[in-house]
């Protein structure tokens, strides 16, 4: 007795009633994910003019030789929206392999045959991709099922466990009915999620960005190329777009908004909270060739008389910045930049030491209105991780970090 059955084998399988008479052949099978995410709930059987529905508990045995019923009270098939039909909705479509972090196309589905009380049921075990399943599809119905099994053995299988498959459904109502969620995607690294999003069509990608957590969406969106970014933001509701843009760092938010048509970016800005809105607006003022357009307004600045202890306290209050921070800055009462302290030096200094004494060599900075080529030169020449930006009066107004430079240069 086989333990596995492929969807390509299930299709066309003969269905017999209690007295062993043939009723018809299997045309498709459907899951009802709200009830059970993996069990085939019903089989659509073509016989005569119309399709019949066979419920999973009406089947006594199922195998390569056919399906034998234990209950022949069948109902005519009618489409319902809670049903995920394997042949129609899954086969040949793209799904996300969350474990392998990529988009794949479904060639076939592997079921496990299990006994549940008096019935034999099929549970989806894996989704098949790769050569082996292509071979099965091509030979399906041409050669006997057992021959195909023998022919495919030399080819290595390539399958994804059903638990790791994420179906992408743009229609939110249907997503609810089919119990599809994007929770698994939120756990991916934002860069991987960005790659996946880029590979999908516009409808699918918009549905993902719109439904996942805004913070994750913002992180992923920051990794997507500017053009795709713009088309996604444009398609979202202004309110949702604003929510995502707020979560992005101000320089990235400004870059993304600058790509949009003025009308759309205005709409999104209107929906944003006052503080991030002001920051982004300020950045949007700069011409894209000016240093100001590259800078980030998230930084840690302390009074020039502060000590190491003050710095550590300030950092504790800005925990969300820590991941990318590489320096803190000292400013006077007017906000004029005085010196930059590399973060590493704080670790080896006593808490009472004035920060001034830890300052890195000569103070490097650019004016917000300087040309960005000058910024690239300075970064290159001094091998910097960050560079403070000041206004006409020398007051600190932002920081340019190496990762901003890398993405600008890469997009050239």
């Amino acid at each position: 007795m086989e333990e596995l059955l492929y969807f390509t084998e299930l299709v066309g399988l003969k269905v017999y009633d209690l007295r062993g008479r043939r009723i018809g052949r299997v045309a498709d099978a459907a899951l009802v994910p709200l009830i059970d995410p993996a069990r085939v709930d019903r089989y659509l059987v073509g016989g005569g003019w119309a399709w019949l529905t066979v419920r999973y508990d009406q089947i006594r045995s199922i195998g390569l030789d056919g399906i034998h019923l234990q209950d022949e009270r069948l109902t005519p098939y009618h489409d319902d929206e809670y049903m995920l039909r394997i042949g129609r909705d899954l086969l040949d479509q793209q799904i996300v392999d969350v474990d392998g972090r990529k988009v794949v196309r479904v060639n076939d589905v592997t079921f496990e045959i299990r006994r549940e009380q008096s019935a034999q049921v099929l549970r989806v075990l894996e989704v098949d991709v790769g050569l082996r399943s292509i071979l099965r599809r091509l030979l399906q119905g041409v050669l006997p099922r057992r021959w195909i099994r023998r022919i495919q053995t030399p080819i290595a299988p390539n399958s994804i466990r059903w638990e790791h498959c994420n179906i992408i459904e743009p229609d939110p109502l249907r997503r609810l009915r089919l119990n599809i969620s994007y929770k698994m995607l939120e756990k991916l690294h934002p860069a991987d999620l960005a790659d996946i999003v880029e590979e999908l069509g516009p409808e699918e990608r918009e549905s993902i960005i719109a439904s996942i957590d805004s913070e994750v969406a913002a992180e992923a969106l920051s990794e997507v190329d500017p053009k795709t970014q713009a088309s996604i933001l444009e398609a979202l509701e202004a309110e949702k777009a604003a929510e995502i843009v707020e979560e992005m760092s101000p320089d990235e938010a400004a870059d993304a908004l600058a790509e949009l048509e003025e009308e759309t970016s205005e709409e999104i800005l209107e929906e944003m909270d006052a503080e991030p809105k002001a920051e982004v607006r300020e950045l949007l003022e700069f011409d894209e060739h000016q240093a100001g357009s590259l800078m980030n307004t998230e930084y840690v600045a302390l009074n020039e008389n502060a000590t190491v202890r003050d710095a550590v306290e300030a950092l504790q209050g800005n925990a969300d910045l820590l991941e990318t921070l590489s320096a803190v800055f000292l400013v006077d009462e007017e906000g004029v930049l005085k010196s930059a302290i590399p973060l590493g030096r704080l670790f080896v200094a006593a808490p009472g030491v004035p920060l001034r004494e830890l300052a890195a060599g000569p103070l490097l900075r650019v004016k917000a209105t300087d040309h960005r080529e000058r910024v690239f030169e300075i970064f290159d020449k001094y091998n910097l991780l960050n560079l403070p930006v000041v206004d006409e009066e020398g007051r600190l107004c932002g920081v340019i970090t190496a990762d901003d430079i890398i993405s600008v240069l890469r997009n050239r």
């Binding site: 086969l91 040949d92 479509q93 990529k102 794949v104 196309r105 479904v106 060639n107 991709v129 790769g130 292509i134 599809r137 091509l138 999908l200 069509g201 516009p202 409808e203 990608r205 190329d225 053009k227 795709t228 088309s231 444009e234």
Partner: protein, 413 residues
Amino acid sequence: MLKRIRRQIAIFFTVIGPGFITAMVDNDAGGIFTYSQAGAKYGYLSLWTLAPIALLLVITQEMNARMGAVTGKGLSDLIREEFGLRVTFFVMTLLVLTNFTNVMANFAGVASSLELFAVPRWVSVPLAAAAVWLLVVKGTYRSVEKIFLGACVFYVCYVISALLIEPDWQQAISSSVQPVLMLDPDYITLVIGLVGTSIAPWMQFYLQAAVVEKGISEREYAESRIEVIVGCVTMVVIAFFIIVACAGAIWAHGPRDIEDAAHAAQALKPFGPYAFALFAAGLLNASLFAASILPLSTAYSVCEGLGFEAGVNKSFREAPIFYWLYTLLIVLGAGVILIPGFPLVRMILLSQVLNGVLLPLVLIFMVLLVNKRELMGRWVNTRLQNAIAWLAVVILIGLTLALVGISLRDMLG
């Protein structure tokens, strides 16, 4: 108003690439031969076919650009999703075969054009194959596209070459707008050949994939359409100059058949070294260009349709089938050119036959897909668009099948 126009122009430049490159690659070694033959044998007579060719191209290519921009998916993806794996496999098998013969023809073009400059083929062909292979494997989409756009500029060679020959411009212009039909079987064959070879299945796959790869979306679609039209028009303008050059140089001194495009270049020698060198350089450029695009486009389409990993930004380990297919097309395509006595002409005729089977399928699938509301939303064909599209498809299928008949006759006869 001015701002709006400026913005449009700016967008136009960001979408430039797909339509232009597709149209220019259409003037590959095989295309140049057909145009040279038309000019050499019938002079300016066949020039009138160019306007309808441009129109047919625009009608079909526009649908691809639209599908790419709206769905964000390649043509092979859409065929797979809507028509299933078996159909896709069949289409892809044919696509690989026809494109393979096209790759061969273009490496033959490289060989014969460089032989005009006394470079033997056992030097030129392996070098060209290696260069083509490296270009894509080591390049990124952006850099490769820039090189391809650069190659487009080199088609100016034909314009200058034609100017140097000083053909009868008056007759050229008047023939361009004056359809001439003759019941000469050779002439009919030629006209069918001109139109039939001007549109190939790979173009549909390449253009749509390039639109997707470039990230062109609905909102840039208007500019993308202009780009497709400009590309198609430029393509027939180049064809015009090739035909005119051969008409002025060969036909005016006695109409005759030519054996391949390199012969046409040779016939230009009496008009000075520049006319000859430019024509030959144009052939080399076109052959190299097509030899780089075809294997790449084939590997992409096949892997997308059958669900294998694809892309030049993936490693060999991540996308083995993509790289193997790509490499084999180049190695075999270039390799057979070096086999002495290889029946190249027969293979090219065979490719016409395969083309005749594949093109109708692809065109019909395209019109069916572009009419699916669940894919295209408000971008489905209007009734008028459908009428035009089906008419164009019927004409193209008719001409392609006629070409199949001719090819079969030549192959067997």
